[in-house]
């Protein structure tokens, strides 16, 4: 089952990449972008008996390895195709 995990820097923590990208968007002519957070996207194929089980497995992987809880937040999604 496909599980998607998105990891983003926590709000309030300086995100140098997000800030740079936000400035670059401004310089490229896009106004009205008030903030950018740049993070990571993981697409996992997990063996699971249900979407709920797959989602929980993904969350456990995020808590253990994929995200650093001091500086990052994550969300887990089951993509509906």
């Amino acid at each position: 089952m496909k599980v998607e995990v998105v990891v983003l820097p926590r709000r309030g923590i300086l995100d140098p990449q997000g800030k740079t990208i936000s400035e670059a968007l401004g310089n490229t002519g896009f106004s009205g972008v008030s903030s950018v957070r740049a993070g990571k996207f993981f697409e996992l194929e997990i063996e699971a008996e249900s979407a709920a089980q797959a989602k929980e497995a993904g969350a456990e992987m995020a808590r253990t390895l994929l995200a650093n809880p001091v500086t990052e937040d994550f969300r887990v999604l089951i993509p509906s195709e």
Partner: protein, 237 residues
């Protein structure tokens, strides 16, 4: 003193660490591959700098799960000394053996230069040989040295005297300009609450020999050795 230097795929400062411990300070050194599950008889574990696992995911994020790390945790729990340098510091943070986390340097560049450190705590096993008021000139070479913690954690770390080194001017003043990477409170090196685990971003192993023209790093190794010898002789007598 018996030293074990860990080697992960991608570590590149392990030989410098071995050289300083063995040739400069006369310790017996074993290189320990990440796949080992036991440490040889060890007094000091050194976790060297480099790019373990290519810094994939986050610097140190994968190394912290290497087979050898359980033995390193146990060694620390039993009061053994652990010294993480640069990537070693990052690994200790990811492993939760030191508080806080690392972010990318605030100016988004890899920085390679000599900096100065103010010593905040002269009582630890890693700093007792450093003369009062001396700032240490040592090199840094990193892209993710921007240490951060929650306000709560930062306050606790201050209250418990866990901050060992802060980036400063040569005169020991804490200024924003002297902070190369934006780390919170100019923090460059921390110990754990027990005082037996040190993590620092600068490279003292590159600054411990007169031939290199930069020697302040040797104070840290001297402190470790002095404290070890004192403990050893008090056990014997």
């Amino acid at each position: 003193m018996k030293v074990s230097v860990l080697v992960f795929p991608g570590s590149n400062c392990d030989q410098d660490c071995r050289h300083v411990c063995e040739k400069v300070f006369g310790c017996s050194v074993e290189m320990v591959w990440h796949r080992e599950t036991k440490l040889p008889p060890t007094d000091l574990v050194v976790i060297p700098g480099g790019f373990s696992y290519g810094d994939y995911l986050r610097a140190g994020a994968i190394a912290r799960f290497a087979p050898i790390m359980a033995a390193v945790q146990e060694h620390a729990e039993n009061g053994g000394l652990v010294f993480g340098i640069c990537n070693g510091f990052q690994i200790l943070l990811e492993a939760g053996m030191l508080p806080g986390a690392m972010r990318m340097n605030k100016d988004r560049r890899f920085i390679c230069k000599d900096i100065h450190l103010k010593v905040e705590n002269h009582e630890s096993a890693f700093s007792s040989a450093i003369p009062e008021g001396k700032t240490l000139k040592v090199p840094i070479a990193h892209h993710e040295g921007n240490w951060v913690a929650s306000e709560e954690t930062y306050q606790r770390v201050i209250d418990q005297g866990q901050i060992l080194f802060r980036y400063a001017t040569a005169e020991g003043e804490l200024t924003p300009e002297s902070n190369p990477n934006g780390s919170m409170g100019n923090v460059a090196g921390l110990i754990n609450s027990q005082g037996n685990v040190l993590g620092m971003m600068p490279h003292p192993e590159r600054a411990s020999e007169t031939e290199l023209g930069i020697t302040d790093g040797s104070y840290i190794f001297e402190s470790i050795l002095q404290n070890f010898n004192q403990r050893a002789s008090s056990i014997v007598s």
